[in-house]
Amino acid sequence: MSAPAVEMKQDKKLDSDKEKITGWVNVIRNNASWSWVSLPSLFLVWMLVAIPFESYILPQPWEVADEAWNEMMFPTVSEVMDDDGEITIIPEADRPSVWKFIAKGEPSNALAHLFRGELWPHVGWSLLEEVGGFGAAIIFSVLFGFLAGFFKGFREYIVPLNGLFMAIPPIAWAPLMVIIFGLGYTTIVIVIFISAVNPMILTIMEGVLQIQGQEVRAARVLGARKWQLFLYVYLPASLPFVTAALRIGFSQAWRALVAAEMIGASVGLGYMVQTAGEVGNSRLVLLGITMIGLFSYLFERTLFRPIEKRYEVWRLE
């Protein structure tokens, strides 16, 4: 009598195991996204490719990370120069670093020390240039995009110009801008602006054109005046296209930025990659590339994707 009972128990256990497994399979099925594999696989390939090379030619990712962290971002000062130009090496234990200042509870000293990290000015200037060029492109493209959407004459005038500017790689403007404005901020901002503003104008214009006459008509019979039409119909209806334009513009600007800095700047991520390449510092080159990719990814993920998701909700069809 007892044997069957044991069997039953085993069966039950088996069943519950099965359930557990199918449960997990379902969890994976429902939640699995392969996107988490893409970045690690890239690092894996990097590591494999780097194996046969000497570290100074093609370093491993962790070597780049080490260099970035301990040299470029949070350097430890190992020597000081006094007024006479005499260099003394600081003993290991006394060497100042950001972390030590933080541990000692001296945030202002920590911050001051942080600026000794060579990477920060490059990142900072690149971001500032992006803000300048892309910001100007936003203002212009919204203005011209809407005008071109509303007025046929203006549209006919501006579309060929957009096409022309888009046919010329933005980097081609860099040497001219260097001649006019010299190396630096203005030059880079102008190149970025040229590269971003044209596709943005076209995207917004197409969007305004696509706003259905029917919606405008419905609003008019409901008593909407001209300014109300703009505020309550054209503006909300164009938000998806405006965000699409922002996304396109940002990435265009960012690419142009890096390229332009290689020619027309004395600081910035592009400049850093360029000069590091010239002296054969492959770690710094790879660090620059990683940073460029990282920032573009961060903006995409934290800024543009969430905004765009919001407008996907109400699309008809």
Binding site: A218, R220, V221, G223, A224, Y232, P236, W314
Partner: protein, 278 residues
């Protein structure tokens, strides 16, 4: 349906109206119509004969080439607060939820949020969409969208209601129900209604008078005064002899219109051009 206040209608006069699309496609020639205040006018005609064009002219979306169309003795503009237009497609604003869509007209008048919500809710309830306030249009069925658009138009208590095949997207049962509700509403509020439809039975059931449009260029082919007694009930009305007489008459008229001078090739080309541009 909830009781509304009697609004009353405005009279609508169309005199010697001529209209052609910019590609010289003539749609109306010497159109004359006089719609009495509070009259329920149905307009029938085959597809492409100009019914939507007619309503757009009435609403002031298009300007007639000559002649006039006047409401209370004044030219009509689309923004006229006394004008309501229910389109062939619901045309809800996809970025607003149902209740925001319904309040849109009141919002344009500058009415405060609480008051307009109250009115919108009342109208939403009337079309049977209570509980769907927060739904975006793409989460509503076709029929629900059309009902929401009716509530949206009714919020402004229009004196003249233009309806372009408003129920053609609905199934027959819902359509009958909406017809009854429209009649009740009209009974209470007494607006002037111009109602376009493909359905002869719907036209007979609802209207005081039925216009059959001719093929373009033209205007009214024939008008039929509808003497069916009110209040109407779908079953009763359909079992009356008069109903079937009207139906036969209108059937014949429509067939005559369809058999009207077949278009020659250049006219068909013009029509095709028109359809493309439209």
């Amino acid at each position: 349906m909830t009781k509304g206040n009697h609004i009353g209608g405005d009279n609508l006069v169309i005199e010697d109206l001529n209209f052609a699309y910019s590609n010289n496609l003539k749609i109306f020639e010497k159109l004359n119509i006089d719609v009495k205040p509070g009259e329920f006018l149905a307009v029938l005609g085959p597809s492409g004969c100009g019914k939507t064009t007619f309503l757009n002219l009435l609403a002031g979306f298009y300007q007639p080439d000559s002649g006039t169309s006047q409401l209370r003795g004044e030219a009509i503009t689309p923004e006229d607060p006394h004008l309501g237009y229910i389109f062939q497609a619901a045309n809800l604003f996809p970025w607003l939820n149902t209740i925001e869509n319904v309040e849109f007209g009141l919002r344009m008048t500058g009415m405060g949020p609480e008051k307009r919500r109250e009115i919108a809710l009342k109208n939403l309830e009337m079309v049977g969409l209570k509980g769907f306030e927060e739904f975006l249009p793409n989460k509503l069925s076709g029929g629900m969208r059309q009902r929401a658009s009716i509530a949206r138009a009714l919020c402004l208590e229009p004196h003249l209601l233009l309806m372009d095949e408003p129920f053609s997207a609905l199934d027959e049962i819902l359509r009958d129900k909406m017809n009854d509700e429209l009649l009740q509403l009209w009974d209470q509020l007494g607006q002037t209604i111009v109602f376009i439809t493909h359905s002869i039975e719907e036209a007979i059931y609802l209207s005081d008078r039925i216009l059959v449009l001719a093929r373009p260029p033209g205007g009214i082919y024939k008008e039929v005064i509808n003497k069916l007694p009110r209040p109407r009930d779908l079953r009763e009305t359909k079992s009356s002899e008069l109903f079937w007489e009207y139906k036969k008459e209108l059937n014949n008229l429509i067939q005559e219109v369809q058999a009207q001078a077949p278009l020659d090739e250049s006219e068909i080309a013009e029509l095709e051009l028109g359809a493309k541009n439209g």
